[in-house]
Amino acid sequence: MSVATTNQRRRRRIRDANLPYQLATLVVFAAAWEIYARVSGGLLIPSFTETAVATVELLGTAELWRAVYVSNQALVLGFGAAVVIGIPVGILLGRFRLLERYLDVYLNILLITPMAAIIPLLVMSVGFGLASRVILVAVFAIVMVVVNARTGVRQVDPALIEMARSFGASERQIWTRILLPGALPAIMTGIRLGIGRAITGMVIVELLMVSTALGGLILEYRGLFKAPLLYGTIVIILAEAILLISVARWGERKLTRWAETTTARSAK
């Protein structure tokens, strides 16, 4: 119990220590933005204050929340699929070298392919509905999940697998009792990075082809030169990304407290 509270206290102190610096950065950034917008802003560049006002305004509209709801359907389904498919595939690749050797090149290709370019083809094949949005979100996110799960499995101490075998563990038990928990920190990192990618995918498909929801709002505000609302929407999307990633980080910490690194920051 005492351990837990000191941990919390430490974490809180670190957060408190960071906050002034974070705020300072924000202030500098906001000031630079405000000045630039006032001096030489164009039609598409609102000032910081206008954007802040528009953001608050947007949050009070039903239209925004409807858009958030619709966009997030694709996010939840697509990202869920990426996790459910990606983790086992990653573990499989991490465990079986041969398989990995053959699939590695495709993972690399997936990692470097500009998905935006294939959106027209995707939309042609599965249409403009939820399906293409879900697929695109999944495709954006899954590489991160697979690659990290694979790395995680590779980092599992082989001695643990041997130990389990010495006690007669089956392959299934090795997966559930050794590989999955051992790879969990890396898997959680993959999930965190995957969320970022998933949100990117969600927005990009809406911007490029299926212009509903948040992407649709961006296009609309851009088309009407409502710059503050345009960037208000973008701020809200970024806020969602940060929120979800923070939740993932929190979950990561909860689930993998045992792996908290002991590498102290080098002096200074």
Binding site: M163, A164, R165, F167, G168, T256, T262
Partner: protein, 264 residues
């Protein structure tokens, strides 16, 4: 009870080179014996132990326990690992209960048994800690408790105290001896340390490297029980004589293998 005849094992390294880890090893371990194995690094000690554990299949030769050929890991054997091999995410209790769980023991029974063993190795009160919160010596106690929990007849230990500091090591040696004296398990114990080999073993198996072979088996004339005063034993002339003898033998092997120059 353990009978090893003509055991051979080679490995193909990642670079395609072949290493002969064991050549023609013959060895018998008696029931209740405490056998220690000593030899330079890379001489095949771990390979030998893992073959006994059923984790590695030999290329040739026979190995049987109580007349039964070894075909894989079995309930009669349990291993204690050099680097502990504890699950970092599991509590002490779950780690100790791990072997029982793999063998399908029910929750209530395995926890009871685990608590018992935790008490035996002096870790009561630490049941809910995780390995990261324990010192090396405490971690290795967990490893020993885990192995003992499955009631093995043969305990296989691969340099179990190699990663533990000197003082803790002595305490663990004393504890291991008293556990062994009570339970009369059969123990095969690998070590790098001459003192340890002599202090613990009934016989010391000396192995030499490239290829890994049994070069000599040395009986230890020290009296039992030895658990009460490991420090005291060191003062006996038999101990001094034996350890000097082993040191000479090992230094010879070591010097042979210390390269003066390598071609890159």
């Amino acid at each position: 009870m353990i009978e090893i005849r003509g055991l051979t094992k080679s490995f193909t390294g990642q670079d395609g080179g072949v290493v002969e880890a064991l050549r023609d090893v013959d060895l018998d371990v008696a029931e209740n014996e405490f056998l220690t194995v000593l030899g330079p690094s890379g001489c095949g000690k771990t390979t030998l132990l893992k073959i006994v554990a059923g984790l590695i299949t030999p290329d040739g030769g026979r190995i049987s326990i109580h007349g039964e050929p070894v075909r894989g890991p079995g309930e009669d054997r349990a291993m204690v690992f050099q680097n502990f091999a504890l699950l970092p995410w599991a509590t002490v209790l779950d780690n100790v209960a791990f072997g029982l769980k793999m063998r399908g023991t029910g929750k209530a029974e395995r926890e009871e048994r685990a608590r018992e063993l935790i008490a035996t190795v002096g870790l009561s009160g630490f049941e809910t800690k995780r390995p990261g919160e324990l010192s090396g010596g405490m971690q290795q106690r967990v490893g020993i408790a885990r192995a003992l929990a499955v009631r093995p007849r043969v305990l296989l230990m691969d340099e179990p105290f190699g990663a533990v500091d000197e003082q803790t090591r002595r305490l663990l040696q004393e504890e291991l001896l008293s556990i062994w004296e009570e339970s009369r398990l059969t123990v095969v114990f690998i070590t790098h340390s001459m003192e340890e080999a002599v202090l613990l073993g009934d016989r010391v198996v000396l192995m030499s490297a490239r290829p890994g072979q049994v070069s000599e088996i040395v009986p230890v004339p020290l009296e039992r029980p030895r658990s009460s005063d490991v420090g005291g034993l060191e003062r006996s002339p038999e101990y001094a004589e034996l350890s000097a003898y082993l040191w000479d033998r090992l230094r010879g092997m070591h010097a042979e293998h210390r390269p003066a120059k390598v071609d890159a």
